[in-house]
């Protein structure tokens, strides 16, 4: 119930009761209420006529970089005694300097300018309006308005630099890169021997083989290195990322996705991003710096969400070219093993980068015997899940988020796993 309504009803009750019961005391009680109410009505604002201008210092920043928002509010209407101005601060932002809300009085024609500064880790926000509320000095009558403004801010996620990620896909693209293509041509690694053709360099001649064949010369052939298609799938399902009421491991997954996308794009690969959570957010595959920007912007906007339709993993095959590389970034549930193994069976090369939720949650909880016991049990269950994936030929990186991502990935992914190297060696023979 609003204050003024309550006051009016109270006043009405006292007056009516006093008149009905001929009790002067009740009427005496009503007098201060009546004076208060009349004062509120007398000084109540009539209507709001404000002009708001907003200026945001940057529209796109790195994480932690301060962003300044400057607002200018001009009152073109009548004097406003109590004007409350509230700007919506993004949820991911932390106020560094100043205040996003003001309580001022503004005379007709007067302009108020103020500035505040915030910073954040990652996110996207549109400053679409300023909430304004004017009232009489006693707060009885409030006039509220949302005045539209413009401005937006994009805080890109951190993308730690990873030097090299060794992948080996069954098929590659036409352009040269660093991924062995299982085809002979110009390259670095020995691939095979063929008959010498005019134009071949003299140092390429394999004299040992040529010595065994009197009629012809033979030259070495090297494995071509090309670029590949890489699909990064970021698991944004709420049930996987949320650990307890306020704890979420999603930001770590985003950092991993940003870092891997940057590494793959720097090597010239074609990279696409799929954020799988409340809905499917698909960034079409592309090359180079523009694609990097698109991917980082998509990651800045990514939020964990819940959906019945996307509770389990289902990746449409039409999104990723056959036999390409998929990198799945997720804390993982036991039920996720089957769909990932199915992807492997469909011919994709699959890498799973899994931020360890057990260690993450255990680090946030107080160290006690029961927490340690629970962490041990959950770690064992997780180990079984990861082993099942490894046995199916999926490369798994179990990332303890207390260690830096670059270190973990460089030690785990700088060389293809032994079985992949063996397959590669067999193909070369």
């Amino acid at each position: 119930m609003s204050r003024i309504l309550l006051l009016a009803l109270l006043l009405f009750s006292l007056l009516l009761g006093g008149l009905a019961s001929f009790n002067a005391g009740w009427l005496e009680l009503a007098i201060p209420l009546a004076v208060y109410l009349l004062a509120g009505l007398l000084f109540a604002p009539e209507r709001l006529d404000l002009v708001v201008e907003r200026h945001v210092s940057e529209s796109r920043v790195a994480p932690g970089q301060p962003v300044s928002v400057e607002l200018r509010v001009t009152n073109r209407g009548a004097d406003l005694r109590q004007l409350l101005l509230r700007d919506s601060l993004p949820g991911f932002a932390t106020l560094v300097e100043g205040s996003a809300q003001r309580l001022v009085s503004l005379k007709r024609g007067e302009t108020l300018s103020w500035k505040y500064t915030f910073s954040g880790k990652r996110g996207f926000h549109i400053f679409d309006s300023l909430q304004v509320s004017a009232s009489d000095p006693f707060g009885l009558i409030n006039i509220r308005q949302q005045i539209p403004t413009n401005g937006q801010i994009l805080i890109l996620p951190l993308a730690p630099r990873v030097r090299r990620i060794a992948i080996r896909t069954r098929s590659t693209r036409v352009y040269s890169g660093i991924i062995p293509a299982r085809q002979g041509g110009s390259g670095v690694d020995f691939f095979g021997v063929r008959e010498y053709q005019q134009g071949d360099a003299l140092h390429a001649v394999n004299w040992r083989v040529s010595a065994r064949h009197a009629q012809a010369l033979y030259a070495n052939e090297y494995e071509q290195e090309r670029v590949a298609d890489v699909g990064i799938i970021l698991d944004a399902r709420m049930q996987v990322n949320r650990l307890g009421e306020k704890l979420s491991i999603f930001d770590e997954s985003v950092v991993a996705a940003a870092s891997l996308a940057d590494a793959f794009l720097s090597s010239g690969n074609r990279v696409g991003l799929l954020v799988y959570g409340q809905f499917i957010n698909w960034t079409l595959p592309g090359y180079g710096k523009q694609q990097r920007e698109r991917v980082l912007q998509a990651l800045a906007r990514a939020m964990p969400g819940e959906s019945q339709a996307f509770a389990g993993i289902y990746i449409p095959r039409s999104l990723f070219p056959a036999q390409s590389q998929l990198v799945f970034i997720s804390p993982l549930l036991a039920e996720d093993v089957e769909p990932l193994v199915r992807l492997r069976a469909q011919g994709y090369s699959v890498i799973v980068v899994s931020p360890n939720p057990v260690r993450f949650e255990a680090a946030a909880l107080p160290a006690s015997e029961s927490v340690q016991q629970a962490a041990r049990i959950l770690s064992l269950r997780r180990r079984v899940t990861l082993q099942r994936l490894r046995h199916a030929g999926v490369q798994v990186v179990d990332w303890d988020v207390t260690h830096s991502f670059e270190q973990v990935v460089e030690s785990a992914l700088s060389r293809p796993p032994a079985f992949m190297r063996a397959i590669g060696a067999g193909a070369a023979k």
């Binding site: 009803l9 009405f12 008149l19 009427l27 005496e28 009680l29 004076v35 809300q101 006693f138």
Partner: protein, 166 residues
Amino acid sequence: MTKFLLVSFLMMGVMLLTAGWLLLPGIWPVGWLLVLLLPVGLFLLKRKFPATMNLALVLLCGAAALGLWKGMNLALAFAGMLCVFAAWDLDSFSHRLAFASVEDGPFLIERQHLLRLSLILGLGVVISLASFFIRFSFRFEWVVVLAVLTFLGIGALVNWLRTKED
């Protein structure tokens, strides 16, 4: 300062009304009931239960009015209700003041509001005292007319306020 005055006024109001009730012969338990409800009210205020002061105002105004009907001392009832009313206003003001930043000078805003409140309530007290001494006598018919006009006026005011809020 505002919160301190809010709690002080609330406690003073309850004490004054309790004293008024305790002085009435035969119905003293009502006074002790008010005293028992005071810590509940303070607890709800501390927990920031939104409707605490609205409930307190209605309850304590009701207690004052009922007390007057039973023959309570007018000065105690009036002073008690005034203190509770001031606490009700300060509760709302403290919520608005929370939005003020350092640049707005919250101390100055607080002082201005306290001055305004004192003036308005003081004016109310003066008019009440004047009405106490200045007496009019009406015939019964005029009293009925006044009652109907009051009824219609307040009803119209409430309607107007509701449409304005919408």
